[in-house]
Each structure stands twice: as structure tokens, then as C-alpha cells.
């Protein structure tokens, strides 16, 4: 099983555009996303009278903030060719820990620190299982998805913990003074900038690209593949814990089932952002654009009273189109080549 991890990825990736510079591919993707974004805005403008009001920005930020924050470390993990499906469960677990500690008379900031530590430890568990034991990350993180949520359920059961200081829970009610930005979205943007610098302008970033493109080659080039992956999982755990803290404060309550099922939304955003599921390709700007698109689309559809589950048709369709279109040309070329090859035979 370990050699399947280091071997060239699946069937479908065999002639993925790996020869192209990763940056260029990403840029092309981003221009596509910009077009989709413009189309979304036009759609929202024509379909919903309430869309271009100042509070829309705030609400989109409020609704997307935590999901967007979790998308950043997940993006880095996916770029190394791995995945983390436990993100939303970690959000729930960290909120639970924070609520539990707060209920037991911990100082609120200490309770938050406790949640972050649990996040990092949970991430480290994923990291150890994936890098040390060489287990497939998709299986490991489905396991921890269940485990983290289960621990949260054991801790809080059917109780809800509230009563946090109003100075903190206001992040769920008001934007940062003088702007229409929610606190969570500002934290996301700050993290995105850091992420972008690290990914696109440091040796570590280049190493992440390299690990995703050719894990074995990266290893022989002296990159400590295991170590990078391990720390990315720790980072993911801690950042998801941060998202859990924000989520808890925003809702002014902690419960074990907070954010159930969000993992698929986070994955969808990362993929829509142009990050290749096989690793080695992606950009922070793509993920940011994807967050904005999904946020605007959901807001507009909600304003149009479209049922949330029916909204999923749009999200799913977008995801599908976003992967088919870039591969479409490739597929046509391949089919043509095959028929040409067949004719003389």
C-alpha cells in the first residue's frame, strides 16, 4: 500500500498536464474563475434585488469565514497529494473543548488555547498515522472524522454551552468597525496572505509543490517529505480548531454537532479553486476566488428563496464543469488521436 502512495497517481492523472509549469496552469485556472465570478455577480444582480446591499458582504463573510479558513491548510495538504476529511469534525471538537473548559470555569482565553492545543494534537494524530505508519490519508481521516466527532459527542452529549463574553460573541453580529468585513473573513485573508507568501515565495513552498508532483523525486532531492506532511496535518488541526473557536463564538454556543458535513464543502472549495486532487498544482488566489464565488452564489440563491439542497445542484454542477472544462480539450484531442491511430490499423 505504501508504494501506491509514492507511485505516479491514479489512472486519470497519467496524462494530466504535469509538464506545464505549475504556476502557469494555476494562472489559467484563475482567469477562468474570474470569469465565473463575474458571471455569478451578473446573475446575482439580475436575480436578486437585495444582492448589492452593503450587508451582503458582511453576511457572505460571516457564512463563509470558517469554511474558508479550513480550506487553506486543506489546500496545502491536497497539494502534497494527501487529503484531510476530518476538518469539520475538528471544528466541532475544538468548539466542544472550548465550551467544556469554559463551563468548568476556565478563563475564556485559556479555554481557547486548550482548544487550539487539542486541534494540534488531533492534527498530529492524523500526521503520525499518515507519515509514520504510511496509511492512506483518505482512510485515516475518515476514521478521525468519526473519532473526533465521537469524542465531541462524549464530552458534551446533548448539552449546549453558551454564556461567552459579549465582547467576543459580537463577532457573529457586527462587522469590524468601519467596514463590512466579518472578523472571520479578516483572519482568513491574513492567513491567505501568509499562505501565499510561504507557498509561492519560499523554499518550503517549492518543496510542497515538489512533494505533490513527484514525491519520490522530492525525497531523493533531499526534501523531508514525511516531515512536511506531518507538520501540515498539525497545522490543519490547529487552524481548524481556530475555525471551531470562531464558529462557537459566532453562534454564541458550543455543541458537539457543530459544522457536521462541512468537510465536503471545504473539499469542494479547494477543488474548485483549481487545486489538483493528485497534488502539485494550485494557488492561494484560486482558493480565495473559489470562496468568493461560492459565497456570492449561495447568498444570491438564498435571497432568491432557493432551497439549500437545491442550491447543491448549482454547487455540484460548478464543481463538475470546473474540472471537465480544462480537461475537455485534452479529452477531445485524445479521442481524436485514438481514432487516427485506429484507422491505419
Amino acid at each position: 500500500m505504501s508504494d501506491t502512495q509514492t507511485a505516479p497517481p491514479a489512472v486519470t492523472a497519467v496524462d494530466a498536464p504535469g509538464r506545464e509549469l505549475p504556476w502557469r496552469a494555476a494562472l489559467r485556472w484563475e482567469s477562468g474563475l474570474v470569469i465565473v465570478l463575474i458571471a455569478t455577480l451578473i446573475f446575482a444582480r439580475t436575480q436578486s434585488g437585495d444582492f448589492f446591499t452593503p450587508s451582503t458582504t458582511f453576511y457572505i463573510g460571516l457564512n463563509m469565514g470558517e469554511i474558508a479558513i479550513m480550506a487553506l491548510p486543506l489546500m496545502l495538504i491536497v497539494m502534497t497529494g494527501e487529503i484531510d476529511l476530518s476538518v469539520a469534525s475538528m471544528l466541532g471538537l475544538s468548539g466542544t473543548i472550548m465550551g467544556y473548559l469554559f463551563e468548568h470555569h476556565w478563563n475564556i482565553y485559556l479555554a481557547m488555547a486548550g482548544a487550539l492545543v487539542v486541534g494540534a494534537v488531533g492534527g498530529a494524530l492524523n500526521g503520525v498515522l499518515v507519515t509514520r505508519l504510511g496509511l492512506p490519508s483518505i482512510a485515516v481521516t475518515i476514521g478521525t472524522l468519526t473519532l473526533f466527532r465521537g469524542l465531541a459527542e462524549v464530552i458534551l452529549g446533548n448539552s449546549t454551552v453558551g454564556g461567552y463574553p459579549a465582547s467576543l460573541t459580537k463577532i457573529g453580529v457586527v462587522p469590524i468597525q468601519g467596514t463590512q468585513l466579518s472578523y472571520s473573513v479578516v483572519i482568513f485573508l491574513a492567513l491567505a496572505v501568509i499562505c501565499a507568501i510561504v507557498l509561492h515565495a519560499t523554499p518550503l513552498g517549492r518543496a510542497i509543490f515538489a512533494v505533490g508532483l513527484q514525491s519520490e523525486a522530492a525525497h531523493f532531492a533531499g526534501i523531508r517529505v514525511g516531515r512536511i506532511k506531518f507538520w501540515l496535518y498539525v497545522l490543519s488541526g490547529a487552524v481548524c480548531a481556530l475555525a471551531g473557536i470562531l464558529f462557537t463564538l459566532k453562534n454564541a454556543s458550543a455543541r458537539y454537532d457543530a459544522g457536521t458535513g462541512l468537510e465536503l464543502n471545504v473539499v469542494a472549495i479547494v477543488l474548485l479553486g483549481g487545486v489538483s486532487i493528485f497534488g502539485g498544482r494550485g494557488s492561494v488566489i484560486g482558493v480565495v476566488l473559489s470562496v468568493v464565488i461560492v459565497g456570492c452564489l449561495q447568498q444570491a440563491l438564498t435571497q432568491m428563496h432557493v432551497d439549500a439542497q437545491v442550491q447543491n445542484i448549482v454547487l455540484g454542477g460548478l464543481l463538475l464543469v470546473s474540472v471537465i472544462v480544462p480537461n475537455g480539450g485534452e479529452a477531445v484531442r485524445r479521442i481524436r488521436a485514438r481514432t487516427r491511430r485506429r484507422v491505419p490499423a
Partner: protein, 349 residues
């Protein structure tokens, strides 16, 4: 008529052993307040935010609200998530604020999580009404389907009557965090103290998902072979359990099932003898009352002050009850109806 209704509620409440505190609040409610029958503005927009948009029970309630507002010349917008989570309801509250709705009628998926958003809506001048499942936020009116305590106690009484007030019993609930479920279960436990020979051995949660409900029910039956009765205060739970028992007659012989169910769904099980009796109110009337309450609040013809009276169309007049415990100002729809073989066919919800 109204007095009669109140007396009826009071009488039922007393027979099931309601404490003096609650009955005195009812009395207090009727001696203040000014009867305002009319004065509802036309063209009101009311956002109905059910637990989720796909739950048939909630859909019946929403339709009741639509009927109310169409009688009043206003309109209802139904908006919510598809999972029963507070997070999924928040975007709908925001949409209501942005659309400058006059009132929001919400069935809370969580007692506290919605308060920040509802607070925003309130400060934007939107009147807040909760129904079905209350939220623990200030400045709103709760339309209670039936007195919370009364539901809890009457469920236990209903079961006790059928199993001779003795034996092990269990509860099959919805989500572990559901406000209304936990409130009812709390009162069930209180009421059980009056039956020394009945023992609540376990509460299991089926999350209002038939598959999950069946799994936990099966586990329950094998874990507690001596089980005599099950109370399932949720329509999904009771119908799943009834389906299982009706196909496993030997178990049905030993175990008595009751709870809150929709007559339309429970009809076959009443007729084949699997279930003897269960309870519910008309969810359509609940939504209808909530619609009238929301419209009256938005028109200023009703307020949150205890004792305020307002008219709810075909349901006649209602009085706002004062806050008590975790519940703020509220209105009670009426006593729940007990359904059995004699009347189950008369209802179509």
C-alpha cells in the same frame, strides 16, 4: 369562547397534575390586557424558517402560516436549510433582514445559536416569533404547540394507562440537542416519579432519520428484553418504531408504543393494533396561529406584554402568557389531541 378554551386547558392541566404556579400564570394572563381583534396591516411579508424545508411536519406547519397570511392579505416566504442545524438557518435570517421582512417565524434547531442573528433581525425592526421548538433569546413570542409540561406528563400517563403503570420503559427521541425534545423528556422524568413501578431505562436518539431510528430501536430491544413500553415524542421515531413492531408481532405483543405522531402516518398501525393511542396537535393550526401572531406583532396590534390578546382567524382569540423559566412570553395552541381507533380517520394531517 376564549375563557372556555382557557378553562379547558386549565382543567386538562390540572388533571395531569400541573403545579399551582403554572395555573396561576394562566389566571394572571386573563385579567390584564386589552382585546384587539382587528388592526392587522395588509401586505406584510413574514419569513417562515422551519427546522428544515424538507420535513413533512414542518411543511404542514408552513402551509398553515401561508393560509393565515393569505387571509390577512400578506405573504409568507419559506426559507431554511436542509439539515436540522442552526448554522443552516442563519442565512435565511439574513435574507429576511435584507428583504426588510416584517416578521420572522422560526422553529429553532438550537436554543442559543440563533440568538445573535435573531438579535440583528430584531434591531432591524423585524418581529420575532418562534414556534414548534423555542429559542432562548430575548424579545420574541413563542407559539407553544401545547403546554411543554403537559406534553411530557400526558405522554407518560398515556403509556402508564396501557402498561398498568409498571415495567421498564425507554424513550426514542430525535436529535440529542433538540430543544423541545429535551424539555419534554425532562417533564417525562418528573412525571415518572409519580409511577414508582415504571422505570426509564434508556433514552436513545434517532436524529429524525428512519434508518438511524430503526438501528437504535433494534439495539434498545435487544439490550432490554424486559422492555414494556416506548415513548417516541417525534413523528419520525414513532412511525419507524410502529412499522417495525407491526412487522414483528411477537415483539409488539410485549412492547407498547406511544408518543407524538401524525394521524395520516399512524393510521395503519392503529387499525392493525400495533399502537393503541398517541398524541399530537394539528401542525397546520400551529403554523396558522404563528402566522397570525407574527402579523399582529408586526402591525402593532399585539405585543409581548403578558395579557395582550389577539385574534387568530378561525382559531379565535389568544392571550399572551407571561415568561416562566427558560420560556419567554408565549401563547399555547391548546391541549394536544389523543388519537385512537375511534378518531384517527377523521384527521388528514
Amino acid at each position: 369562547m376564549v375563557q372556555l378554551r382557557r378553562v379547558a386547558v386549565l382543567a386538562t392541566a390540572l388533571t395531569v397534575g400541573l403545579t399551582a404556579a403554572c395555573s396561576s400564570t394562566t389566571k394572571k394572563a386573563s385579567d390584564t390586557g386589552s382585546p384587539t381583534a382587528t388592526g392587522v396591516k395588509k401586505g406584510l411579508t413574514v419569513y417562515f424558517i422551519p427546522k428544515d424545508t424538507q420535513n413533512p411536519y414542518e411543511v404542514i406547519a408552513d402551509n398553515g402560516g401561508k393560509a393565515a397570511l393569505s387571509e390577512l392579505g400578506g405573504k409568507v416566504v419559506v426559507s431554511s436549510g436542509t439539515a436540522d442545524t442552526a448554522a443552516a438557518q442563519i442565512p435565511s435570517i439574513q435574507a429576511a433582514i435584507q428583504a426588510h421582512a416584517d416578521a420572522i417565524v422560526i422553529a429553532g434547531n438550537d436554543p442559543k445559536s440563533l440568538c445573535p442573528s435573531l438579535g440583528q433581525a430584531y434591531s432591524a425592526g423585524i418581529k420575532i416569533v418562534s414556534f414548534d421548538s423555542d429559542v432562548q433569546c430575548p424579545n420574541h413570542l413563542f407559539i407553544n404547540q401545547a403546554d411543554t409540561k403537559q406534553i411530557g406528563t400526558s405522554e407518560v400517563d398515556l403509556l402508564a394507562k396501557q402498561i398498568g403503570s409498571a415495567g421498564d420503559i425507554a424513550i426514542l427521541s430525535a436529535a440529542a440537542t433538540a430543544t423541545n425534545q429535551n424539555a419534554w423528556i425532562g417533564y417525562m422524568k418528573d412525571q415518572l416519579k409519580t409511577y414508582p413501578n415504571m422505570h426509564l431505562v434508556k433514552t436513545v436518539y434517532g436524529n429524525d432519520d428512519p434508518a438511524m431510528s430503526l438501528t437504535v430501536l433494534q439495539g434498545l430491544l435487544s439490550a432490554y428484553p424486559t422492555l414494556k413500553g416506548i415513548i417516541s415524542p417525534t413523528t419520525v421515531g414513532i412511525s419507524t418504531a410502529a412499522q417495525y413492531l407491526s412487522t414483528h408481532k411477537d415483539i409488539a405483543k410485549k412492547v407498547t408504543l406511544t408518543g407524538l405522531g401524525l394521524p395520516s402516518q399512524m393510521k395503519p398501525y392503529i387499525h392493525d393494533g400495533t399502537v393503541k393511542a398517541f398524541e399530537l396537535w394539528d401542525p397546520g393550526n400551529l403554523g396558522y396561529l404563528a402566522g397570525y401572531a407574527a402579523a399582529s406583532l408586526a402591525s402593532g396590534s399585539a405585543s409581548l406584554t403578558a395579557g395582550t390578546k389577539f385574534t387568530a382567524g378561525k382559531l379565535k382569540e389568544y392571550t399572551v402568557l407571561p415568561a416562566a423559566g427558560d420560556t419567554g412570553p408565549s401563547v399555547v395552541l391548546g391541549p394536544p389531541t389523543v388519537f385512537d381507533a375511534s378518531n384517527v380517520d377523521k384527521y388528514n394531517f
